[in-house]
Structures are given as structure tokens and as C-alpha cells.
Symmetry: C2
Subunit: 287 residues, 2 copies
Amino acid sequence: MTADRVTHAFDQALQLRTLQQDLQGCRFGGHTHAAWDNMVGPYGGILAAIAVHGVQQHPAFLGQPLALTVNYAGPAAAGAWELQIRLARTNRSTQHWTFELGQTDADGAYSVVLTGTVMSGLRRPTWDGTDMPIPDVPQPETLAPPQDPVFMGWRARYDLRRAGGGLPAQWTPAENAASAELASLDQMWLRDADARPLDFAAVAAACDIFYPRVWQRRRTPTPAGTVSMTVYFHADAPALTAVGADFVLAQARAQEYRGGFFDQTAQLWARDGTMLATTHQLVYYKS
Amino acid sequence: MTADRVTHAFDQALQLRTLQQDLQGCRFGGHTHAAWDNMVGPYGGILAAIAVHGVQQHPAFLGQPLALTVNYAGPAAAGAWELQIRLARTNRSTQHWTFELGQTDADGAYSVVLTGTVMSGLRRPTWDGTDMPIPDVPQPETLAPPQDPVFMGWRARYDLRRAGGGLPAQWTPAENAASAELASLDQMWLRDADARPLDFAAVAAACDIFYPRVWQRRRTPTPAGTVSMTVYFHADAPALTAVGADFVLAQARAQEYRGGFFDQTAQLWARDGTMLATTHQLVYYKS
């Protein structure tokens, strides 16, 4: 299925209304979109996408996104939100932005939902290389969509093909993993369920695609939620255009689980092996 | 050698003068310290330490640092700086802060040096685990300090013992690595040259310890500098106290080098294998 850029659920969720704008930033108004609902509030990936998309809309925006950090400060209620972006510094070839997304409730009380930063810049031809080649996994066409229960709205926005790891077949608690290195490794192909060309905002959204690693590691479903995510964009706009609406491979593994927080390190590649982004997140969990 | 907490170069660099303070944040004044000079401006790690230390000083600060992102927006000149911190949101067990460090030049022009965010929180007893065990490397006492030329002031602040990787013995350009996975792997023990108990600020500083991975990978020295760094703190204060002034093991590897920017993923462990922090950075390079 193909949807155009106006009616696509991703673009609808990213619709911004400019409330105020000057040389140093702007305030945008927007609205949560039910298609992206998660268990509590919107899917974190769509909020990350809104932030980077918003920064890209400013007339002073320089180059292409290079780094994004988004902190999930509190849940977003269904309804209107406001995104403030501010230009902190422009250099010859790089630029630094800060952002805050918040909501005002019926009583007029304002709450911060997101804090974060975006760095952008001009890319130059350099010696390029990779120390993290795409893993050897089956092609997505050979894999069936997973049988995971789709109990969150946003999950239906993606066409997933499990290549390794994933939700446990049986939720039998595992306190100790046979191989620590593999215990939390998750590998999946993903693309928009409704075809849409890949862009920076969509990469940011895809970086939050993984189920909480602690579910896979312990084979126990526990409350968990991302509290901070960082994305480093390695692909430039032409490289994203080359991907189009094709599958990309997403891989994640956890590093450490301690005292209610674990971290995850992850990569996204195009099918031809081009690294699109590397991403990390810190996740709250309860046990 | 032991220095007390007033005269130690690390604590001197972190000295803050409160310029203004309210419930939502404060402005601190400080000054660059020559002991931490890098090639251009201060060592990035000391700036990260100043930011997290500053946030910890606010009376409203909740819990312990969990996540730090610092963006290096521009070089800091030798002299005075100002750190503004702002409390974005306090939840029951977590808190979100933003910060900006800047300088005002002789003409009264203000420039942003750092932007960033800190997340803090209360830790709770949970099931804990690791998917990234400490690598099997020789103990630091069996290793001699490296012969690396110490041409940057900050380098003398640390006692390093190379356990793997490091600067090339010969700067012979290597366009293609025999093993991509190992080509940029760097492993070193580090401790303060002047003994000082480990704390969150010192962990943040240590996360920037690595030479640019691209130097090791290409065996070619090129201009390079960190543009964004994120630290996830996995150790709580008692775990840091247990380390004291002992060596910690730092390991880094690059993931992708493209168009003038590469990223690095890294870990810091206590000698007993306790994960202290995981950290990532995006680094500018020229080729």
C-alpha cells in the first residue's frame, strides 16, 4: 500500500503549525495522532521524529541532522503539544539546536514531555569506513511477519520481519543466559507498512523500534520505557533516498541492567550494507 | 601521589561560583584550568564533568546522575565561563535537566560552548545483569605506561596502561583493516595520576579518554574532535566509592566513519568487572 505524504500516518503525526518564529528558533503547535499510540502516550520514536523534523523546518537550519538526543521526561497525553526549538550556535559547517516539547493541561499547567538536542552539519567527502559491518542474516522476503501480539497501535505502522532474537516464544523466566553476548541480541528488518520514502525523521522513529531488551533477556514481561535516546545519523539525504521504502535492518543488544535502568546499543543498515544510523538508549525497567 | 579535594587539579577545574539561583535552576561562574588544556581549548572530558557536577550542586537535584549528553558546540577560550542549568521536570523518581555553558568575549559577545542534558533518578533494587562482561585483559600492574607522546596537558592528569589497541607504533596509512571488528578496538586501564576517589564527574571525564579512533584505524593522524558525547551511568555512588582511586578499564571501538564524522561506542568497568558507565560519541574528522 502506498499513501501520499499528506495522508500518511507518519506525516500526519509530524504536522506542525508555526506559532512564533524568529532568527533564533521557533514555537510549533501539533497534536498527538492515535495511529502512533503506545501503552502510555505516543510511541517514543514518533516523538523523536517530531523533534528532528521540527528543527529541520527552521529557515536557519544548516546541513543535515548528525546527532539527536531526546529525553523522555514525562508521558504525553492525547491532545495538543507545543515544540520549542532554539538555535544555540552556528559554526562554519555545524550547528547546535536545543528543543523542548510540552503540553498544557485543562488547568493551564504546563508539563515538559521531551528535552533534547540536535546537531546538524555539512558533510564533506572523506575517507569512509566501517567497523560494524551488516550482519549476515536472511533476506526479509524469506521471513514471515512475526507472530508477536500487536497490542500497541504504533506496531501496525511497521512491516517487521524477525531475523534473530525477538520476544520469547515462551515467557519462562531466565535468570542466567547461556551466552551473555547473545542473550539480548535482536535483529529485524523493518519498513513502513504504508510505503513511504525514508528520511531523517523516519530514521529517528525507527531507532526506537525494539521491544525492551529486558523482556527478551529475562523472558519476563515487566514495565519498561525509554528515558533517553541518542541517534547518530551516518547516512546523508541521497543515501536515505536510495533506500526509498525498502526494508532496513535494525539490530540491538543491551549492555548493562542495574538498579532499574538498562542501556541498549543498536544499528540500522540499508539492505546493501550502508550504515544508516547508530543509536543508544537508556531504559527504565521494573522487576 | 595524593592531593586533597581543594588542591587537586580536577576539583580546581570544577570550582563553581553561584551567580544566581532559584528553584528552577542556576547560573554558575567558573574558569578554565590550564592543567586540562587540550590541543584547542580544554579536554572535552573536563567540560562534561563540569556540567554534571554543576547539576548535582543544585538543592533540588534528585537522586544520582543516570544519563548525560554534552554537545561541543564551539571551542572554549582560556578564561571565564558561565554554566546555566535548568530543571525541566521532576517526577516521582526521575528528574530532567538542561544546561548550557558559554563565554563572553572582551567585546561582550556571548558564545555557546556546550549544550546538553542530564537525567538523574533514584535507583531501586532490581534484577541486575550484564550482556557486556569485562574483557579478559592483563592487570594494570603488569603493563607499563604507554610511550605515547604526551603533547596535551590533560594527558598528564591520567595514569594510563595500554591493554590493547592504542596509537599506532608506526603511522603507516592503512586503508583497509584486516579485521574490521578489531581495527579500532582500544583498551586501557586508567586512574588519576594524583589519586582521587571516583565520582560521577570523574566518570564523565574518563569517558572522553580515548584518542580519536580514526587515528588507530587509518594509522594516519588527522584533525579530529568530539562533537557530541552521551554517558549512561550504571554505577551508583556506593559502587563508585568502592572503586576509590583504583584503575578502571576503558574500552572503545568505532562503528562507522562517513562524510567527516565517525561514532564510537565505549564502556568503563571497575577492576572487579562492575560496569561503571557506557558511553558513545560522535567525532568530527578531516581526511
